[in-house]
Symmetry: C2
Subunit: 291 residues, 2 copies
């Protein structure tokens, strides 16, 4: 297999934050030779001291970069595109490149269409995280029980898809699946980005600080994700703009349907929505128990 991740594979993490650091830790602990590139010298120093990586540097130097068989990009989406565009001439021939970005269509094709033909990029999305950031908060166990989605295109080889899935297994993900970049973005637009839009809206639609004392679990659960990295998430939203707008419209239409049934005093329509909602949510709980 061209891209087999065997014990001799040298792995480079580009961007040593929470996710990059957690990947590095998980892979180092399994005996891989893991290096990192990060602009922040302190992050590199901390990771070396704590056995998260074996070596690393702040800027991509050709002699260093060309030693790696597998490169994992853990940067903001546009930085992944820029980095690869700028540095692809120093990659090792036959290197496999992957990422951890939360949007796919808008970056995967752009990278694949301009990439050298002797290396391969395959998108992946580890659906895991913490409400903290930075390599100091890295924890390899954030992947246990979580979903890992590989998003291959026509340009990807079966070998690269298999290697990328293997990486998900090595990291300890519970469910590894395959979706097209478009299907991924639709799914993530609904399940994650729309959910964040709702939480942001709830926290900003009125002055609610005076209500903090009365807040019950329902409201707390709905707004937990309202603490958000505005720099990263505004970029993720914009890079999935069309799909997210479509999901927001689906939600808004149904919300006004519920509003109308309340305004009309149509108790039958309200109860029907509540029963459908209960039945679907129960199905979600069952799926979780099975897994």
């Amino acid at each position: 297999m061209k891209y087999e991740i065997n014990k001799n594979a040298k792995i480079l993490i580009v961007g040593l934050g929470l996710i990059g650091g957690s990947y590095a830790q998980a892979l180092s602990d399994q005996g891989f030779d893991v290096g990192a590139i990060d602009k922040d010298a302190e992050s590199i120093a901390y990771a070396k001291e704590n056995g998260i990586i074996s070596h690393g540097m702040c800027e991509p130097k050709a002699d260093y970069v060309k030693t790696f068989d597998l490169m994992i990009f853990c940067l903001y989406p546009h930085d992944v595109v820029d980095w690869i565009e700028k540095n692809q001439h120093i990659l090792k021939p036959n290197a496999l490149l992957t990422d951890v970005t939360g949007v796919k269509s808008s970056i995967v094709y752009k990278i694949q269409n301009t990439l050298r033909t002797d290396v391969e990029f395959i998108g992946a999305h580890p659906m895991a995280g913490r409400e903290l950031s930075g390599v100091r908060n890295a924890k390899k166990d954030i992947f246990y029980g979580a979903n890992y989605i590989v998003t291959p295109t026509q340009k990807n080889t079966p070998d690269a898809i298999a290697a990328c899935k293997k990486l998900g297994e090595l990291l300890g993900f519970a469910h590894i699946s395959e979706l097209s970049p478009e299907a991924h973005d639709e799914m993530i637009g609904f399940l994650s980005q729309l959910a964040h839009c709702i939480a942001i809206t709830l926290m900003t639609c009125r002055d609610c600080e005076s209500l903090a004392l009365y807040t019950g679990d329902s409201f707390r659960d709905l707004t937990r994700i309202a603490r958000i990295n505005d720099c990263l998430w505004s970029e993720l939203f914009l890079l999935n703009q069309e799909e997210l707008l479509r999901q927001m419209d689906l939600f808004a239409d149904q919300f006004s349907r519920l509003r109308k049934s309340l305004a009309d005093g149509d108790i039958g329509a309200m109860r029907e929505l509540m029963r459908l909602s209960s039945q679907r949510r129960e199905y979600f709980d069952k799926i979780k128990q099975k897994n």
Copy 2:
């Protein structure tokens, strides 16, 4: 004090479900003489066998009802109004009446305006519950750490307000506060009912069962309350119709503001909303830690 809840006070629970049963258990355990009325003979029998109540019956008989100093109505909102209207002639003079209903303006005034002048009704809302129902699931510790809100009007006496707060203390609530029925309904319209509308909308706005496998914590948290008792909640929504419509409109307006900033590619406006949202949510977390 006219309505002092002393050790000799006889307490009647009307409606022995999850909340009524939990009240009964908490009060019996503290040595009070607690009785109950519930249409379901099996609930009464179960509660007697398990020491939750000392006695009870299925229909309100005058000889029984007129022995109670404190009556707690744990019925659906319209059933509280109906029960009191129909049976007020058999109440003990100087009895204190309270309830556990999740809406206030629409029932408190109706009851107080038609009530005998030698008894007093004061509204209260224990903000606690479980996703289960019935006396078999009653647990007195569901009140620990929770909010208890007393909603007095001009018709209530200081004695009754004090006694109702005392009841909240006896039950073990962490925060006992006072709000007008109107302020209560506005608060609950936003923090609880709107949250339920959002969860229902999320689960019904599109066929999402195929996405169950990819669901992360965000979506699960937002839709936990989408499993809902359609009979009770459609009634609660309708009884707070005007206020809930107002809160739904506040939310929908802000949601379209966020949508517009995304459609316009206005990254500055999006980031500003995200920063405000993060800052307010952080304040909520601080308030929780303090308590």
